[in-house]
Subunit: 415 residues, 2 copies
């Protein structure tokens, strides 16, 4: 098979592996693998202005920079993942005294979250290596994304979820035709069982912080931020600050990887500053960051932001580096501020799920602590639709008044 | 004020009104008003290949054909309404023995339904006439769309909903910062109260089947179908058949209006055949169609497809004509077939709410009854995201098995 990447590298020990040598994590230390492109060859063929042979509104516009072949599926939701809108909420910017604020909203993705990016690229990889069944352990967005992207091209998806997973999220998996196995155990048991089954049945495993191609999908958000925002910044103020919600650490790692690619290609003059935001109730990576550790200690996660509720992050090492290597930091936001952030975003027409709004909550904190200055261009990554968790939304706003059906009653409550 | 339309015409008595003469329905008979463009002037300025000065991925690409000024709000969700994807689910096409099948999916709209189109244009109209508060009676998608589009540009929205409306849908309204009044009464009382309040407070009313500009927003779906599909059909087979879910009749009327505009401009060689699909439990317009009536008799709506559950449709007259004038028809689909349609669409990666899936259920019926032939190009309009009604989705699929966390248990359930 001809490969579209040069090799993989262990993010812990640095060992390099040839493209077909290792499928998942480093055999020596279990480290996540970075997929390394052949930059010398790419530099010869592509330029910052001419990098695509497919200028469509999806992440496949970057197929020349992806380590997988385009899987086909034109005219299906697989070719609609990515290329999400970047909003400029001027009222929020004013309130925060920021000159330039962007919110990149991942809700319009086919399954309504950022995770479609990872699943699209993993499905492409599965098709390329001839795997017909793709498996994941997930209770939420990652599972839905895999189920949806697999359904788009008729691939088979198997999802292991703890039996305590919310029925609403299970319904989305089933609707996409995935085979769903509800494991009588917790998420870790579902994760381990999915890997056991992968080996036993010759399936292909998409688990986050395990399969190196998830970050390759997620990096496309960095390419988009570069194309939609950074390229248009004034030359004397090109250092963007980006706020990213962090659970297991794979999104922030993937976005960092995308910027590193662009830097290696010589297309990015200044690396953005990346700030990870965790829920105070699920802050394993933030803890390690501020203690100066390389090793992540598990926490007992307890937060309403279920998409970033993680005891032991599986991509923590790279997630730490994303902030450390870019002059960023980690912030934590308590649940009540996450709810406020949902309401703030809603009032400018962006309906974010709790994990997604956490990034905005981090920005509010950063402004209050002068971690960003009024002139810093700022982008907030909002990773999923509020429709994924309506119960949290209900907690973010006051109840509406009940009135008699008379004009007098209306007059009494109208401000 | 300079107007971008020539006049309005009552859809019942045909009386013409100058642009500022009537705001809502015909004073003589309460008929819905059609907004008529100045086609002679447009024909001189625009061509089918050069009709836009704003080639963006939103309905505002058609601003030259809209009766309102672009409201601004660039970089907000208001400028992301419309230009939704058209999927080609080849597996469904094969199953139905159709040569060409498209599904236009309205889920990626900012508030995840077709209704954003109407609300975007109504908000634009409100800004143009200097109205700062926009009001609607709604329990669902229309209210959310108004709240979201108003929030995008900082306009005030007031939503009257019956107090029995689902809390999840109310939450979406509140998140967008709308003032929500829960009326101790049914939908009709909320509707009437919203109009009374409109008059008392000088507000602008968006109610469907009342405000003539909702159909002007909805017509943009026809423009998109023309641009995305019809323009690319082979010259000898350009008659598209379109399946549209029908509740109050405003979507099908709006889409019909869009095609009539294109025909009046001379840009459409063959009018598509428009087939309306109602739930068997809410079939007021289908009943009138098949009885040859012009007048719609109320029913007692009872269907799980809440977005098209309507006792007395408020845009029934034009909805009948959409099918009658295009050689189309009306079909009805029982709830169990709506659930099957949700599952069928899900298996190709499209998660539709019940009302949206009803259109696909109609297509299945039409194929079985040979109302469409294998060579007919067919498009199904899927009007909203399945995330809007997860409880219905759960009814559409079988429960997942619960297993012990062992490989043996996996082996037993894997097909």
């Amino acid at each position: 098979m001809k490969h579209k990447f040069s090799h993989t590298t262990c993010s812990i020990c640095g060992t390099e592996y040839s493209p077909e040598e290792v499928t998942y994590t480093c055999p020596k230390d279990g480290g996540n693998l970075d997929v390394i492109l052949d930059f010398e060859s790419l530099k010869k063929r592509l330029t910052p202005d001419k990098f695509t042979d497919l200028p469509e509104a999806s992440l496949w516009r970057y197929r020349n920079l992806l380590p997988v072949d385009d899987p086909g599926g034109f005219g299906t939701p697989l070719h609609r993942a990515g290329w999400t809108p970047v909003y400029q909420p001027v009222r929020l910017a004013k309130k925060l005294c920021l000159k330039d604020l962007w919110v990149k909203d991942e809700s319009p993705n086919p399954t309504a979250s950022f995770k479609d990016r990872a699943s699209a690229v993993v499905v492409a990889r599965a098709l390329q290596i001839g795997a017909d069944t793709i498996v994941a352990a997930s209770t939420g967005n990652a599972g839905a994304a895999l189920a949806g992207m697999a359904a788009a091209v008729g691939a088979k998806a198997v999802i292991f979820a703890p039996k305590t997973a919310p029925p609403a999220k299970i319904a989305q998996l089933l609707i996409y035709g995935a085979q769903v196995l509800l494991v009588d155990g917790n998420y870790d048991q579902a994760f381990d069982l999915s890997i056991e089954a992968t080996q036993a049945f010759g399936w292909y495993n998409r688990n986050t912080g395990f399969n190196p191609f998830t970050a390759e999908g997620k990096k496309t958000a960095a390419y988009e931020i570069w194309e939609q925002v950074i390229k248009n910044l004034p030359e004397n103020n090109q250092k963007l600050t980006i706020f990213i919600p962090v659970g297991d650490g794979n999104i922030i790692s993937g976005v960092h990887k995308g910027f590193k690619d662009l830097h290696a290609l010589g297309w990015l003059s200044q690396m953005p500053r990346i700030i990870g935001v965790q829920s105070t109730g699920s802050a394993a990576i933030a803890n390690a960051f501020h203690q100066g550790d390389e090793i992540i200690q598990a926490v007992q996660a307890n937060t309403l932001a279920d998409s970033i509720a993680v005891d032991l992050p599986r991509d923590g090492v790279r997630a730490l580096r994303a902030a450390r290597e870019t002059g960023g930091t980690y912030l934590t936001v308590p649940d009540e501020d996450i709810l406020s952030a949902i309401a703030e975003l809603g009032r400018v027409g962006i309906f974010a799920e709790p994990a997604a709004a956490t990034a905005y909550g981090g920005l509010v904190k950063a402004v209050n602590q002068s971690i960003v200055s009024p002139n810093d261009p700022v982008l907030v990554l909002s990773t999923g639709s509020g429709l994924k968790d309506v119960s949290a939304a209900r907690r973010a706003v006051a109840d509406a008044p009940i009135i008699e059906p008379t004009l007098d009653a209306v007059k009494k409550v109208i401000k």
